[in-house]
Amino acid sequence: MEEKKLAIIATKGSLDWAYPPFILASTAAALGYETQVFFTFYGLQLLKKKLSLEVTPLGNPGMPMPMGMDKWFPVLGTALPGMQALMTAMMKQKMKKKGVASVEELRDLCQEADVKLIACQMTVDLFDMDSAEFIDGIDYAGAAAFFEFAGESDICLYI
């Protein structure tokens, strides 16, 4: 069977948006795809050694809230201090209860399966990030390097 290729661009740095790139990349690797994920802008948060990802109800009308709060709770209320931390804690608890893997676990599985994780060098410089903050085993590259792989890919996703 000829090896297929999957290229993903991960641009978001919140807890909920951390899942699609890592779930798809690890699953693709298990199915025999050669996989690369290019992390740019806020997506770089997903490569930090110590993840502090949160999920916010603010400006997110699709987010299910406890006690039907999404139906009656005023939109402004979602901006209250502590709301984001509370929703993040609840989301993590729910995920654990339902047997959903942690982001760290999925990321480890990606690395074990030889998924190539690439940090956007430009964004690293832009935000004055230190490569010591990031996990080991990742590459640093630019847009042209991404296209070298993406141009040959069977599936290319922007997340």
């Binding site: 069977m1 690890s26 699953t27 298990a30 199915l31 047997g99 893997a101 999925l106 599985l109």
Partner: protein, 76 residues
């Protein structure tokens, strides 16, 4: 229930963990050996079917018993 060489209990795990664990366990088997996977994720029924089609590891059996899903996969 047919014979199998190894068993993997993925009960309580959600997508994509049953597939990832199965892939890892299959890697430790030799060609022709059979892996028995137990899962509780209802999505795993279609996922193991798709996994088998895409990786060439034959899905010998897929059935539900006592609220759990059982799969037999033969390593290609």
């Amino acid at each position: 229930m047919s014979d199998f060489d190894q068993e993997l209990d993925a009960s309580g795990l959600n997508c994509p963990l049953p597939i990832l664990r199965a892939k890892k366990t299959l890697a430790s088997l030799s060609a022709g050996q059979v892996l028995h996977i137990i899962a509780t994720d209802p999505g795993s029924v279609k996922d193991f079917d798709a996994f088998s089609k895409q990786t060439g590891n034959e899905l010998l059996e897929s059935r539900e018993e006592g609220g759990k899903f059982h799969f037999l996969i033969k390593k290609a």
